[in-house]
């Protein structure tokens, strides 16, 4: 058993941390405040190759493993969770299913620009009445000649409006339930595909979250991703990997909040000494660090299993469940350590606590993770 990162894994951590601290961190607060992402950061990440980390070089990816990918998302999220989910949703939820299920033509046409960062990606699965029960999607896709005609709407779509390429899960045969679903690649600008409401959120406020609306949107038949009937399966497999990204995001948020709290506890003085000298806070710091370390091991292990080609559905659900609950707990404690200052926007822990909450909800709520884990245990 080896608990040591490889040379390139260490190097990606250092590089992304440098980048995150100098380029992203100064913008994290203002972008949160403005509820707008500064996409010049995207261009810089594309140049560095952060937009296609786990894909082979032949598709313009970096040819790195999923542990590297998790480390990159962790380091970005350590200073800005909105940046973490931008990369995670793009990579895991859009580029990955195209890489895993796409034809060679689809990969050339869509994966290459996604991985190189020329295009941004998103996944549209959730609907107003199909959340945790994602198999019950109502958006319909009807074959008409050489085109599928899409009707319906998707909500809460990360990177919505900003993304150029969308993987959309729709129902092609209502009588078959989730076995009658299919995945499609839909380009922004396709007639009949528009954007509805922009969500105003508690956290990850710089991340764009939109409703997608399809009204007689005609998608070429060759944009069917994988087999007809396998849409839900593709979505579930995509989420298995996506959860590694979100778990890494949660881990990064927790680490960021811990680092801030540790630093502050050493300089803030009360009763004539640094608050870190009080055992009550020392125990809090010890628990925070311990949970973060446990989360990190779960996240890297899930990524490692994926790299080894071994089953990872249970482990990625465990990693996401534990890391997201860790992030919520740690950020709450971080605010506590900052006292009143932590509750204000003067310090980043307030934002981090708001950002942490979403990791317990999207890509399957904590309850859904427990369902996935239990189903794996009982099968």
């Amino acid at each position: 058993m080896e608990f040591k990162l490889s040379e390139e894994q260490e190097m990606i951590r250092k590089t992304v941390r440098d980048f995150a601290e100098s380029e992203v961190a100064p913008k994290a607060g203002p972008m949160d405040e403005a509820e707008e992402y500064d996409y010049t950061l995207w261009d810089k990440m594309a140049e560095m190759g952060l937009t296609g980390i786990p894909f082979p070089e032949e598709y313009e990816g970096a040819g790195m493993d999923n542990v590297c990918y998790a480390i990159a998302v962790e380091e970005l999220s350590r200073v800005c969770a909105s940046t973490g989910v931008l990369i995670s949703a793009h990579t895991s939820l859009c580029a990955w299913p195209i890489y895993a299920f796409g034809t060679e033509e689809q990969k050339q046409k869509y994966l290459v620009p996604l991985a190189s960062g020329k295009k941004i990606g998103a996944l549209g699965l959730t609907e107003p009445s199909a959340g945790s029960d994602a198999g019950s999607v109502k958006t319909s896709a009807v074959l008409d000649g050489d085109e599928y005609v899409l009707n319906g709407s998707k909500i809460f779509i990360t990177n919505g409006e900003k993304a150029d390429i969308y993987v959309i899960i729709a129902s092609t045969d209502k009588t078959k339930g989730h076995r009658g679903t299919a995945a499609f690649i839909v380009e922004k600008g396709t007639p009949g595909f528009t954007f509805g409401k922009k969500e105003h959120k508690m956290g990850i406020r710089a991340s764009s979250t939109y409703e997608l609306v399809f009204e007689n949107c005609r998608v070429p038949r060759e944009n069917l991703l994988g087999e007809d009937g396998k849409g839900f399966k593709i979505a579930l497999m995509t989420l298995d990997g996506g959860r590694i990204g979100i778990a890494a995001q949660a881990l990064g948020i927790a680490q960021g909040a811990f680092d801030e709290a540790l630093k502050y506890s050493k300089v803030r003085e009360q009763f004539g000494k640094p608050i870190s000298s009080f055992q009550g806070l020392q125990w809090m710091l010890a628990d925070m660090a311990t949970r973060i370390e446990a989360a990190r091991l779960l996240v890297y292990k899930a990524a490692y299993l994926k790299d080894q080609g071994e089953p990872y559905s249970k482990e990625s659900a465990m990693a996401k469940l534990f890391a997201s609950e860790c992030a919520m707990w740690v950020t709450t404690k971080a605010v506590q350590i900052f006292g009143g200052y932590g509750y204000t926007r003067e310090y980043p822990v307030e934002r981090m606590m708001r950002d942490a909450k979403i990791t317990e909800i999207y890509e399957g709520t904590s309850e859904v993770q427990r369902i996935v884990i239990a189903a794996n245990l009982l099968k």
Binding site: E7, E8, M11, I12, K14, T15, D18, F19, E47, M48, G49, L50, I53, E57, A62, G63, M64, C68
Partner: protein
Amino acid sequence: MKILVCLKQTFDTEAKIVLDENGKIERQGVSLIMNPYDEFAVEEALRLKENQGEGEVTVISVGGQQTQDALRQALAMGADKAVLVDPGDVELDEYSTATILAKVISGMEYDIILGGFRAIDDGSAQVAGRVAEILNIPVVNMITKLEVADGKAVATREIEGGSEVVEVPLPAVLTAQKGLNEPRYPSMKGIMKAKKKPMQKMTLADVGLEEGQIAPKVKAISFSLPEPRKAGKIIPGEPAEAARELARLLREEAKVV
């Protein structure tokens, strides 16, 4: 065009320096980085190569095995080869380091040698100049702009109160000042390529030197840490009154105005 860059691994700028029980700087547990001024030099070397459309960038360092991290970073940024001379567990001063570097370099082909003008740790700003002296080639220090053409380098350098443009024939040593460029981040592809690039490791003997030849000429007698910064003073009261009090303190206590 053969471009050499001398680089040093230093303490992280944010590292907390402490002294061990012998009064020496504690190196244990300190995170290390590429000397930021050397990063400018690496970046300039890469730009030179890119602008010329051809060339080879070799990065060279004298240091222990962990110095490979700094060299690897330069390779990930785009340098082609790295050379590490590990002199073993010996004390080095600027003379020793420059002697080793010059010896290695004298066995290599080069058109231009770049380095940072100083290292952020000991800050002596001597090594590059000494290397140039030993190799008997010109040195231009603290450059903020560089153009190379027709076997000549035209460099802009900082001087007291202004700047100066200097032309030197190549080969020459040029040292980087802040402002020369904005170093790139290693790309992910660069990181993947870096591990396949050559990293030549040499001992003193491989270089053709004996310990006696690099014995330091300067000996640090003692180290001390700066006085901890005192807490600032807040002057209460009405703005006009507080300003008057501030002026008085600056004049009478701090004696700065």
